[in-house]
Structure formats: structure tokens, C-alpha cells
């Protein structure tokens, strides 16, 4: 019985279930990447918990999002607004829309202690974005804090460490 099935059987709402297996996590991350590539941003938003944070630091090894700027730092309220804007017919920075292609790999479970409320999953990603006449290449490391909620995996927080996080960059509109 998988961890998710176990949680569903227990019917215990939002709580961490230890023993998430790495394949389960990998399938979840691939599902997330697919939603983003297909522009299903509302479905992507639904993967996050009600108090989730989504963070793209502006510096390597940035300690926190509070006293240093971030390329993106969204609490739930701002993340909802970000996603709502992506659906706007007047989002000029997405006219034309970006097309993206993501590879998520090298998945590992970093922390899964019994006393922790979430499971920290680390993965590597490569993202190609094409818009108008230009193609951009991004790469880096994802850190997902995953939690099982009502029988499904959810993202409590997502940190995206870009290899070029402190380099000059054109605007970022489509989430990583």
C-alpha cells in the first residue's frame, strides 16, 4: 500500500505520511511539470496547500525571502493573483504566449523524519521557454516540501534555485 493510499485509508485529512517513495514523488513532479507546460495554471495552483509559498531566490544559497529580494516570492494570496493574471486576456507580456518544455529528474528524498510535518524532495530540472522570436534555457534545482492532504500529495512550499539566479534576465512570467 502506498503512502497516499495509506493516508486515504486513514482518512485523517492534512498530515504528513512518512515513507513516501521516491517514485511516487517523481510521478507527482512530472505531473506538476506537465500542468505547467500545458498552461493549466489553475490545476497547478490546486496542487498547493492553503498556506503554501512559492519561492525563486535571487541569490545562490539565499537564506530567506524576508531580507533579500527574490525573483519570485509568493504567499498563497500572491500566488493566486499570479495565476489569475496568467489567464487575463490583457496580459501583454504573454501575447504571444510562451511555450515551455520541462524535464524533471534526479529526484531524491532529502528529509523524511518522523517528527517533520512535510517531506523534502529535491530534483533537477531543465526548462526551455520559447516566446516570440527567442528561446531561453533555464536549469536548476527544485526543493518541494510535500504533504499528504485528503489522500493526495500537495505542495506546502516550492523553492526554485536557478543556476543563473543572480544573472541579468529578461522578465519572468511563466512560473518555473
Amino acid at each position: 500500500m502506498s503512502a497516499i493510499q495509506q493516508a486515504a485509508v486513514l482518512g485523517d485529512g492534512t498530515r504528513a505520511v512518512k515513507g513516501l517513495d521516491v517514485r511516487e514523488c517523481e510521478l507527482f513532479l512530472q505531473h506538476e511539470a506537465r500542468l505547467l507546460d500545458e498552461g493549466k495554471f489553475n490545476d497547478w495552483l490546486a496542487l498547493f496547500t492553503a498556506d503554501a509559498r512559492y519561492w525563486v531566490p535571487s541569490e545562490p544559497d539565499q537564506a530567506n525571502p524576508l531580507d533579500t529580494v527574490s525573483l519570485i516570492y509568493d504567499d498563497r494570496q500572491l500566488l493566486e493573483t499570479r495565476v489569475r493574471r496568467l489567464a487575463s486576456p490583457r496580459i501583454y507580456s504573454q501575447e504571444p504566449r510562451s511555450r515551455t518544455s520541462r524535464i524533471v529528474a534526479n529526484v531524491s528524498i532529502e528529509e523524511d523524519a518522523d517528527n517533520a510535518s512535510t517531506t523534502l524532495v529535491r530534483s533537477k530540472f531543465v526548462l526551455i521557454e520559447f516566446r516570440r522570436n527567442e528561446q531561453r534555457l533555464f536549469g536548476g534545482t527544485y526543493f518541494h516540501q510535500l504533504i499528504v492532504s485528503s489522500g493526495a500529495l500537495r505542495i506546502a512550499s516550492k523553492r526554485v534555485d536557478l543556476v543563473n539566479c543572480d544573472g541579468p534576465m529578461d522578465g519572468i512570467v511563466v512560473p518555473f
Binding site: 527574490s70 519570485i72 504567499d75 499570479r82 487575463s88 501583454y92 541579468p168 534576465m169 529578461d170
Partner: protein
């Protein structure tokens, strides 16, 4: 061809309109670097970035790499980042602390004031080879001057001193510093480096443009207006919502409550934008109350009131600086190519203010100046679209005439628009542009390379 550009460049600006070539002609761009960035005061950084002897950082002045360094005696030096031997860039890291600069090619070593310190293998050079010669050094940029900690350089020995050149804009820089209870500010919280495919002038032309938010930022305005305030926020969303919703103020607001002031040398500021009930200066925010208490304790009630009533949005110091004194934000515009620009944005920490107030500064920076901001990304799109648009065979002359009959003199030697939707600040920048680029007041062309007698 170059001669032709030189002769005709002043004809590309008319009252109320400018020729599109000003934004996409590489020869005009080269002339701008030479004449504007070569003779205006260019902001390079803040003294808090080089607080101690040996502290240095690298930046660019009109596309040229320079290093800003604090000498052992506390003196500030701005050096061209080039070895006198074979021309290699000497300092390769963006910032750091050092006792000396050493070239990685043959080990030539320099004092922090640029003088040559040591040269390996000194024998075997021609008789005239003199390591004490002034030209055998990391050369100084012609002039360096600071105003209240803000460091500017000038590549020309001619022209007005910094303070005279800044004129009334010193009051905006004062406002940056005056808001610190202890009277000191420091660069903190990292830097955004955003780029776009467009001319450097477009950035400053947009920053005091009060007529665009309602339209350009419609997607983030609508998204923020529809956002529930009942969902989880740790403060980041709350500050972002206030700012994005404020962008949705109708034209009547911009035409009745916001002003635009312009001054000689191309400078300007947009004022009276936010009141205390909005943004990070929210009176009902306990952190802001603590801040006001700290201010009143250090400066007294009257002076605190005076400072809080200086309500400026963007202050633009032509040609490469724009800052928001109310919100501790500062942007440096760096031209890379005629259609490519880099903007570095910094935050400042107010000494003596509550630590948590700086968290709000960072949240504000993310929404207003962030590379992934829901607002700024649409501005970047506008710059890109102007570049694409003017490459067409459409209208040759672009309009900057809005409000031109209603400009009025300002008591401090400038002129102000009737209200913030006036394009007076763009016309004012082109007045300065003409002064730098045209025959009158222009600096001479750089000396041509002459053939050296054998």
C-alpha cells in the same frame, strides 16, 4: 556616415515629437555613450557598498568597466578596470575586499588608488619604460564626487560640479537619507538585474509616465482587484495587492492628485502619489508606527512630519538613475546596445528603523522592481514592443507633446506639468539630450587615433 549623423542629430528632435531613429540607430547610440555618458554625472553606487578600506565593487559607466574602491586612507577611487600592460580586465569579481589589485596575465600589481605597485621582469623594456609614469596605472575616471553618500563619476574634466548639476534634485536624494532615524542608509537586500530588448531612454521615459498603468498593467490590476483578502498571506501578498490595486486608479486621479516636476539637465520627479494609508507607509501598520516613533525620538515631531510629507514617487536623475525615496528603491540604467538595456535595482536599509520595516521594503521591491513581478514584466514588454514597432515603416515621428501648452514654471528653477499625465518630463529629457548631443554645450569628439612616428 558618422559625420552625417553628427550634423543632423539635432534635427531629430522637434517641439512635441522625436524621430524614431533616436531609439534604433546604432550610430546615434554610440554618440550618446560618448557625449551624454561621457560628460554627464553618472551614478555608480553608494558609499555603504565600499564602507571599509579595501572594499570594492565593479560596475559600468556608459558600457565601460570600472571599479569603485575605498583606499587605505578612506579616499574613494573610481578606476578604469584595465591593466596598463596588455589591457586585460584586472578585477574580475563583482565585489570584495582586497589590499591590492593584481592582473592575472603577468602579475602586474596595483595600489588601491590605481598606481602601479610591482612589475615582474622589469628588465628588458625600452629606455622610456617608467613604472612611475602616470599612464602606467589603472587610470582614474576624470571626476568622482559624492552627494550624501551617492557616488557619481564624470568622464569629462569640464562642466558643472555634481551638486550644481543635480540642482533641486538634491532634495530627492536628501529624502532618501532623511527617512533614516539615525540619518544613515545602506544598500542591502540584494539586487535585481533585469534586461530588455530596447533602448536605454525608454526606461526613464516610462518611469514618470502616469498615463500608462491603467492600461499597460490592466492584467495585474484586474487580478489583484478580484483577489480575496481572506486567504493566507505572510505580508508579501498584502503589500503587492495594495500596489497593484493602486495602479488601477482612474485617469481622473492622475489628473487631479498627482504632479510632475522637471528640472535642468533632464531631471524630474513624480509626486503626491501615495498617501499614508497605502503601501508600506500604512498608518495602521504597527511596524510603521514603531518607525514613526523612532523618527520622532531622533528628529522631533515637526521634522518627522516635514519628512513624511515629502511624497515623491519616482525621482529621475538623467541619464542613468531613478529612485523612490519613499520606498528605499534605486535603479541604475546601463545601456548595452542601441536595443538592449540592463537595469540594476537596489534596496536601502534605514539605520535606526525597525528591522521588520525592511522586510516590507523587500516585499515592495519584489512587486515593483522584481524580474518576476506581475507589474514590471508588462513594462518590459512595452520596451520590447517599441523596438519592434519602430523597426516598421510606420510613423517616423513619435509624440511627446501631451500637455505642452500647460507647462508652468516651478519656484525652484524648473517647470512642472499641469498634472502627472503631461509628457513634460520626456520633453525635458530631450532638452538635456540636445544640450549634450548638439553643437551647443556638447563635448568635443574623442581624439582620433593618430599615426605614431616610428
Amino acid at each position: 556616415m558618422r559625420h552625417e549623423v553628427h550634423e543632423n542629430v539635432v534635427s531629430l528632435v522637434k517641439p512635441g515629437s522625436v524621430h524614431r531613429r533616436l531609439y534604433d540607430d546604432p550610430e546615434i547610440f554610440d554618440l550618446e555613450l560618448e557625449r551624454i555618458f561621457g560628460s554627464a554625472w553618472i551614478y555608480v553606487g553608494h558609499e555603504s557598498q565600499v564602507r571599509n578600506p579595501g572594499d570594492y565593487f565593479c560596475t559600468q559607466v556608459g558600457g565601460k568597466p570600472v571599479v569603485v574602491v575605498r583606499g587605505p586612507d578612506g579616499a574613494l577611487h573610481v578606476l578604469h578596470n584595465q591593466c596598463a600592460h596588455r589591457g586585460a580586465m584586472v578585477v574580475a569579481l563583482n565585489k570584495g575586499r582586497t589590499d591590492e589589485f593584481q592582473c592575472c596575465y603577468h602579475g602586474w600589481t596595483y595600489h588601491l588608488d590605481g598606481r602601479l605597485k610591482a612589475v615582474p621582469l622589469q628588465h628588458g623594456y625600452p629606455p622610456g619604460f617608467d613604472t612611475k609614469s602616470r599612464s602606467m596605472a589603472m587610470l582614474h575616471v576624470a571626476r568622482v564626487s559624492s552627494y550624501r553618500g551617492f557616488i557619481f563619476v564624470n568622464q569629462s574634466v569640464k562642466g558643472p560640479a555634481l551638486e550644481e548639476w543635480l540642482g533641486y534634485m538634491t532634495t530627492s536624494l536628501d529624502d532618501m537619507v532623511d527617512r533614516a532615524p539615525d540619518g544613515k542608509i545602506e544598500v542591502a537586500g540584494g539586487v535585481f538585474k533585469h534586461t530588455y530588448n530596447g533602448n536605454w531612454k525608454l526606461y526613464l521615459e516610462n518611469l514618470c509616465d502616469a498615463a500608462h498603468p491603467w492600461f499597460t498593467h490592466r492584467s495585474s490590476i484586474d487580478a489583484a482587484l478580484q483577489q480575496s483578502d481572506d486567504v493566507f498571506t505572510d505580508g508579501a501578498g498584502e503589500i503587492a495587492m495594495r500596489q497593484m490595486r493602486q495602479n488601477g486608479a482612474p485617469y481622473s486621479f492622475w489628473e487631479s492628485q498627482v504632479g510632475i516636476w522637471t528640472y535642468p539637465n533632464g531631471h524630474s520627479f513624480l509626486g503626491d502619489y501615495h498617501d499614508d494609508k497605502k503601501l508600506i507607509a500604512a498608518l495602521n501598520d504597527p511596524i510603521f508606527r514603531d518607525y514613526i516613533d523612532a523618527m520622532e525620538k531622533k528628529k522631533g515631531k515637526d521634522e518627522t512630519k516635514r519628512i513624511m510629507e515629502v511624497r515623491r514617487w519616482n525621482s529621475n536623475v538623467y541619464p542613468n538613475l531613478s529612485f523612490m525615496s519613499q520606498f528605499q528603491q534605486l535603479r541604475v540604467i546601463q545601456p548595452i546596445a542601441v536595443n538592449r538595456t540592463l537595469v540594476c535595482t537596489y534596496s536601502f536599509k534605514l539605520s535606526g528603523a525597525p528591522e521588520r520595516m525592511f522586510h516590507n521594503t523587500i516585499r515592495f521591491a519584489n512587486v515593483v522592481n522584481g524580474t518576476g513581478s506581475l507589474v514590471l514584466t508588462d513594462d518590459l514588454e512595452i520596451y520590447n514592443r517599441i523596438s519592434l514597432g519602430i523597426s516598421s515603416e510606420g510613423a517616423e515621428w513619435l509624440q511627446i507633446g501631451r500637455g505642452y501648452e500647460s507647462d508652468v514654471p516651478d519656484e525652484h528653477g524648473g517647470r512642472r506639468g499641469k498634472n502627472s499625465t503631461s509628457e513634460i518630463y520626456i520633453r525635458n529629457m530631450f532638452d538635456a539630450w540636445l544640450g549634450y548631443m548638439g553643437v551647443v554645450g556638447a563635448q568635443p569628439l574623442r581624439a582620433r587615433v593618430e599615426s605614431v612616428p616610428a
